[in-house]
């Protein structure tokens, strides 16, 4: 389909602003823009239809099943959107006087109370804008803590090899050296490897539990204790929090700091890649180091992750969701997610091996290594074939410790019929792989495009439209 620039006609536009009612001021020549903007020129009708056409070429969780592992694509309630669009929230300047933002404070204070309770933590910051931003924040808290105690040799963060890629990247940004420890044969932390890796240079551990193969690590109390004994702190990657909320709390498991992905667990939408919100909750020992807002406090020494107070409207959505669910609903959502994942896994595990565990938490990982050996059909081929059935593919080739991995996270907001249908499609694809696998290499066949040439995209990058010279 055409780009918006290709639909542009000089002289078209929308009538949006009144004539200027004060004398016009011009910039001096040397400060003026050297050539006029080349934005597209379209009527409102054309703009409306352009984006409607783009929307038809997109797929959101509110349109259909989206079992993307580790991303918790649950239904995004409409009421949450409507509350975040209230003028009493959208029209508030971030630097308004305290006495004029009582409502915003109430939102943040209420969300703080609920999230601290759900995580078993004492304090929170809403400044981080996403999960990775939260990880970076949490690690800086750990760094600040050790430094404030004069314990400056602690420069290593221990991370299991199955961890999300953001974990080591965040640790590196926070100035730590990453110590990767291998997973044990059960997919969980190898306690001996962990014991061997800790020492006087251990700043902390980053862990997600349940881990990325969907298993709750039963040694969790030993794990966090080993780190504490060594003088380190424990960081909980909250990407998988949907699996445990209302059932068990990171704070009770020995974690000192946790980030939450409000855009996963608390049903705020992903927006095609953001905005999210990655609040960081911590124990009181880390509270003194929580970030602030320099322009308001002029405390130069405080950490600050972005301007102002975080992605506030996302917090409004998450709070609306938490008020709707309540304590019981939060637990039910968690249990529903775990039930749906186990149900779908049970319907598939006779055909597609599950490398770790008999049951799972909120997500499960299948290995298609055998299928590929037998038929030549890869995890990628199966994933792409799902698109022809209107199902968004699961996360592919992650975690790295499983070969030909497909990671499904159905979430609690899917009905049994949806899971049955998806499982049936997966079984049909298994059959097809054995009978007519060749055609799956070209899947999808009925999508917006055929498979794109990613090598071409990276080798000869075309990253913008080039206007034709006039």
């Amino acid at each position: 389909m055409q780009l918006i620039f290709e639909k542009s006609h000089a002289g078209r536009g929308c009538d949006l602003l009144p004539a200027c009612d004060v004398p016009e001021v011009q910039l001096p020549e040397e400060l003026k823009r050297e050539q006029p903007l080349r934005l597209p020129q379209l009527s409102e009708t054309e703009i409306s239809r352009h984006y409607s056409a783009l929307a038809k070429r997109a797929h959101g969780v509110n349109d259909g099943f989206y079992p993307l592992g580790s991303c918790t694509m649950k239904y995004n309630p409409r009421i949450d959107e409507e509350m975040a669009a209230l003028p009493g929230f959208t029209n508030i300047h971030p630097l308004q006087p305290e006495n004029t933002v009582t409502g915003c404070k109430q939102v943040l204070d209420t969300a703080k109370a609920y999230l601290c309770e759900a995580t078993g933590m004492d304090a929170i910051t809403f400044q981080p804008a996403a999960g990775a931003h939260g990880e970076f924040t949490g690690l800086l808290l750990i760094k600040s803590y050790h430094e404030a105690r004069g314990d400056i040799k602690r420069n290593k963060i221990i991370i299991p090899d199955a961890a999300h890629g953001t974990n080591p990247a965040s640790a590196s940004m926070a100035g730590f050296t990453v110590v990767t420890i291998p997973s044990g044969p059960d997919g969980c932390v190898d306690l001996n490897a962990l014991r061997a890796s800790v020492g006087e240079d251990t700043a902390g551990l980053m862990l997600t539990n349940p881990n990325t193969v969907g298993i709750f690590d039963s040694n969790i109390l030993e794990i966090t204790d080993i780190i504490h004994q060594a003088g380190g702190l424990n960081y909980y990657d909250g990407a998988n929090f949907n699996a445990i909320m209302g059932v068990v709390r990171p704070g009770d498991m020995g974690f000192d700091v946790v980030h939450l992905n409000l855009h996963k667990t608390f049903a705020t939408p992903h927006g095609g890649g953001g905005p999210g919100s990655g609040p960081v909750a911590c124990k009181s020992i880390l509270q003194p180091y929580l970030p602030g807002c320099a322009i308001q406090n002029s405390q130069k020494e405080k950490l600050q992750l972005k301007a102002f107070h975080g992605n506030f409207l996302v917090v409004v959505k998450a709070l609306t969701y938490m008020l709707t669910l309540g304590a019981e609903g939060i637990r039910s959502a968690c249990e529903g997610a775990v039930l749906n994942a186990n149900y779908m896994m049970a319907k598939l595990k006779d055909l597609y091996p599950v490398p770790y565990g008999k049951t799972c938490m909120h997500e499960f990982v299948l290995s298609l290594e055998e299928l590929k050996k037998e038929t030549g059909v890869s995890a990628l081929d199966v994933a792409k074939s799902l698109i022809d059935h209107g199902i968004h593919p699961p996360t592919m080739y992650f975690p790295l410790i499983v070969h030909e991995a497909l990671m499904f996270e159905p979430t609690e907001t899917e009905s049994r019929e949806t899971l049955d249908e998806a499982a049936e499609v997966m079984r049909e694809l298994y059959q097809m792989a054995h009978e007519d696998g060749a055609q799956m290499h070209d899947a999808p066949h009925h999508a917006q495009i055929k498979r794109p040439d990613e090598v071409l995209a990276a080798r000869q990058p075309v990253l913008r439209y080039q206007w034709k010279q006039v």
């Binding site: 602003l17 903007l37 020129q41 009582t102 322009i295 990253l463």
Partner: protein, 441 residues
Amino acid sequence: MGQYIPSTKEEQREMLAAIGVDSLAAFYENVPDSVLLKEPLHIPAGKSELEVRQMMETMSQENKVFGTILRGAGAYQHYIPSIVKYITAKEEFVTAYTPYQAEMSQGILQSIFEYQTMICDLTGMDTSNASVYDGASAAAEAIAMCRDRKRTVALVSATTHPDVLATMRTYCYGAGYELRIVPEKDGRTDRDALEQALTADVCCFYVQQPNFYGNFEDCTALGETVHQAGVKYIMGCNPMALAVMKTPAACGADVAVGEGQPLGMPLAYGGPYLGFMAATSAMTRKLPGRIVGETKDADGNRAYVLTLQAREQHIRREKASSNVCSNQALCALTAAVYMGTMGPEGMRQAAGQSMSKAHYFAQKLAAIAGVNVLNQGSWFHEFVTELPVSAQSVLNALEAENILGGLPVKDGILWCVTEVVSKEQLDKAAAIIEEVCASCN
């Protein structure tokens, strides 16, 4: 109450039976009993949609929505065309994940590609990424793009927004490189001091245009000074000002970043906003985060994909250029729809009117006895005044008339005027300020 769970209790029992377990507890066998919660969380019981609506509406009404806003300082009230809100509320855009699966996400990918093109056009730069969290984190990420083993000091002008500066300081603290402030002189970067500061260990210099006080810096001259020392040049730009001012590309910037909020995003108590990042071709592969590129599909048709992913955390892990994963895609879409709707003429009008009205207001204030406008030379839509009375007394008087006055700063008040404020509103605000100033004489 509402849980958004379709399955009935009966269906759940059947599903448990199909799995071959007795109860939900079976799934939590691995959780040590000592930490399993024995009672519900101390969170109130769930509520109906109507009750929740009433609670949230009550909270929103506890805030004061000002009829006139004369405050900016990093967050700017511009007119948002109706269509922007409707397009960006489409569920296909709102509820999609990052477009990993290109065959199912061409609409999202194309919208990002169009956004990247518009940012390139706005800044004059060669390439843009798909966005980061906000202008402050974009500035901090830009520093990370410039450092190398030998050059580990970042220079930042003292005329930078305090939150942007604090964010850059935090990122530098994390990665272990040093941030040094280049002092200001009369509201602009002190170029002599900059020249002195350009030692062999400096990797980059960051300047904000227009700067925190609203002044236009001589960015071309600053760029020349910086490049003579072999140092990278980063400009943090107000995107609205870019509709009329010299682009960072023309000023010689290697990286251009900024806060995209003026491009169609509401004030929203500070977020979500939009960090835009653009670079020269030479710096493209150092950009953090997602980038969309054009390619061909197996049938030879034009297609869009996430590209240059070898920079990113899911491939490179601890060696990645950044940990950015989620960005602000829907805000980038908002900016694209905004710019597409405003068009070149609408953008020029919004920028031009903001500047003209700010200058009109400054003249009105300068005419009041005891009020001095501190800005010299060229400035955009923000300016600082000294007052003969306390800033608080002026702000209180304005607040009583439903006007949010400027931000109190060291030397007085930092004002901002945008195109949404009418001459009549400005006259009224000036009259109130005059009255306060007169009453204290």
